[in-house]
Symmetry: C2
Subunit: 430 residues, 2 copies
């Protein structure tokens, strides 16, 4: 059964992930060959700094000319682990034109240009696989796209950014503030020097766009994803969460509306009950909770980043693409037939936890409650605490639309007796 | 892109799972057609009791002659949800001979005859898929076989039987004894009238054989799996587990030996730390923990049984098989190239929790400790409690081979001062 002519792989990028891909391709060459049905050969490695010593990689394979490597014409699969939009996008489309399939770990690019890249792959009869783009080693794209292909997915809710989960877990377990926890994450290498992409939710939003698109068979662009970072989460928020039997996580949530006619995708910090499986996801781990009509509730858990875990996902895709190539078939392409409208954040329905600083005098609660009622937001619980002539009022609502809640908060800010809105946090997973 | 001639599906069995498969094929026909690229049509349903009213199924499709249905010659995919060895085995091989691919949920058959069935499928160029055979709705076969195809799996440890997890969870949370918890499981429909297959670990052992085979690219037969049921787990065992910060689960464990040269597969009750993700798997849920070289630790969680969840897995396979059929390819078949030897239980290395009833007199601990030392089993902790002239001695060992532990226990039983061995339980997940 074994074909002797090897399949040729071009590796674009040889950083943390790329070097692991190269290492495993070498050390596990026999296993990969047995599982694919033909040997795979590393035919070239495109890098920015050719002088850097790369253990285990033949220097003759290293080039700075990624374009020439992709255009060689004898490449079967291009593995793109450069990241970012350009030159990755052009290299991938060039790969398709020159007869190669592509395995990518590039969430930003897939979230922004997934539809165009899928179209290019299909035009040239090539595969585009990207399991590593979402939640690192956790098999998620394939289960959603294939295992649940006969089911109707209603909700995907997950912790898809390890950096922010590390920070929030640290704040939760030690009572540290955001800056202190971020500093520790940076010192330990969990956060980059510029943590913006993580802490402001850009990274998670890209993953949410990809997951929503696959789950709902609908194109969801990065711009469709509501995004709120977690830099304003405070130790006081965690204290409030604890009082409610909750913790705080940065969640990516993709939902089908109750009537099934539209979908939403969003990233923001939220309180979730300690009894929810996502609450116990610690450190830099990722986990994604999926709810579907027939399967019910599923959860996928594992390391969401790191060189070796991401390489595991890349290599799983590489094996699949190579098998497809040998059998002359391609795997499932983009599935966007449902083409559901993506609703704005205002249409999202969930619960809210609102902390207000108010004057400590009679009638304030009545005033505040009236504002909620006028906006159609039903209150579940209220807790009032006095402190030095001021008081804090914590309101937890029943389910209401984000638009109604925003209107409520705007009106609350105009009340003389409301000194300030200390925090607003959504409550999920109940 | 859409082909108009439908793919024809023969459904063998229309019980809890089969009726859900038929229902979803009808209610989600448009989605399935869009995802496959062609409509799928229920061409026939083989049942034992044709007179039973089956809502939503055209009575004209119902037949008692499963063989004739499979031999029709125009069937594309046979969905086998009868269970048991015969007639399922003959019907599946007949399906291949008559040009159909097969989706099966039959763990017993796959564990016993997987190799022969795969060979038959390959001989006729057909697919054999069986995601639903292990852990119901949880995508597990496909992630192991495809997502982790570029990685080296070292361990698969899971709760793969919902009935026993319900019973053990009940014992843990209420302090109930085995019989009381079993009675409740039966009353609630979680346990069958004859619970033997579940409580004696036969069901879990079949799943362990399937998982080990896929994880290690090695044929593992049902007979290769060490099996110990959970009928002898007592409330006292749970009390001991709690003192150690553990709970008790019936685990299926498939392991690669430390030297990589052999594998083991086993099912037995075991103590696991409360901090382990498997410890918090409640009720009838299933979860499987996977450890691999590159990906690290992954966990897959969800409903392990039930009509709709199992149907979700069956339909995911059905979509994949139909796609393969349209593209003229077949999916991954059996991968047993590694052909590693399966070692007996004696070679398994783990930790043990042993409760002994001993005479309450000086020198007993020294005697017992000597026996452990003579068999090369190192003791981690000992706890001695006196009660009315008798004493109980609880020993927790370091890692030792099962053979060494068995030898130790045999020798302990021969000591005059040891009145009895109250319980032996393995300790996992540390």
């Amino acid at each position: 059964m074994m074909r002797t002519r090897p399949l040729k792989v071009a590796l674009l990028g040889c950083g943390v992930v790329g070097s692991e891909v190269a290492r495993i391709m070498t050390t596990h060459a026999d296993d990969l060959a047995a599982r694919i049905g033909a040997p795979v050969e590393l035919a070239g490695v495109a890098v920015r700094r050719p002088s850097k010593v790369r253990e285990g990689i033949d220097p003759a394979l290293v080039t700075t000319d990624a374009t020439a490597l992709v255009k060689r014409g004898d490449i079967d699969v291009v593995v793109e682990v450069i990241g970012g939009i350009e030159p990755a996008r052009t290299l991938i489309t060039t790969a398709f034109e020159y007869g190669a399939s592509v395995v990518s770990a590039n969430k930003a690019l897939l979230a922004q240009d997934g539809a165009a890249l899928h179209a290019a792959a299909e035009e040239h009869g090539e595969d585009l696989y990207y399991e590593a783009a979402v939640a690192g080693a956790i098999p998620l794209i394939r289960p959603l796209r294939e295992s649940l292909a006969g089911d109707k997915i209603n909700r995907v809710m997950g912790i898809v950014n390890g950096t922010t989960n590390f920070i929030l877990d640290k704040m939760d377990s030690t009572g540290a503030g955001y800056q202190e926890a971020l500093d520790e994450a940076t010192a330990l290498g969990y956060a980059e020097a510029d943590p913006t992409a993580d802490v402001e939710g850009f990274d998670a939003a890209a993953k949410a766009a990809i997951l929503a698109g696959i789950a709902f068979h609908t194109r969801v662009r990065l711009d469709d994803v509501y995004r709120e970072g977690m830099t304003e989460v405070t130790a006081a928020d965690f204290a409030s969460a604890k009082e409610m039997g909750c913790t705080i996580k940065l969640l990516a949530i993709c939902e089908r509306a109750a009537d099934g006619g539209s979908v939403t995708a969003r990233v923001h910090p939220a309180m979730i009950p300690l009894t929810h499986p996502l609450a116990s996801v610690r450190g830099a781990y990722n986990a994604v909770f999926v709810e579907s009509d027939a399967a019910g509730q599923l959860m996928f858990y594992g390391p969401g980043a790191g060189g070796a875990p991401t390489a595991s996902a890349v290599l799983g895709d590489l094996v699949a693409v190579c098998r497809n190539r040998l059998s002359g078939a391609t795997g499932p392409g983009e599935s966007a037939y449902a083409a559901l409208p993506v609703s704005p954040m205002g249409d999202v329905v969930t619960r809210y936890h609102i902390s207000l600083d108010v004057a400590d005098k009679p009638g304030v609660l009545a005033q505040v409650a009236t504002v909620f009622a006028e906006h159609g937001v039903s209150i579940d619980t209220v807790r009032q605490q006095g402190k030095d002539g001021e008081a804090s009022l914590v309101v937890v609502t029943h389910r209401a639309s984000d638009a109604s809640l925003s209107g409520t908060v705007e009106a609350l800010r105009k009340l003389d007796t409301v000194r300030g809105v200390a925090s607003i946090m959504r409550v999920e997973g109940e």
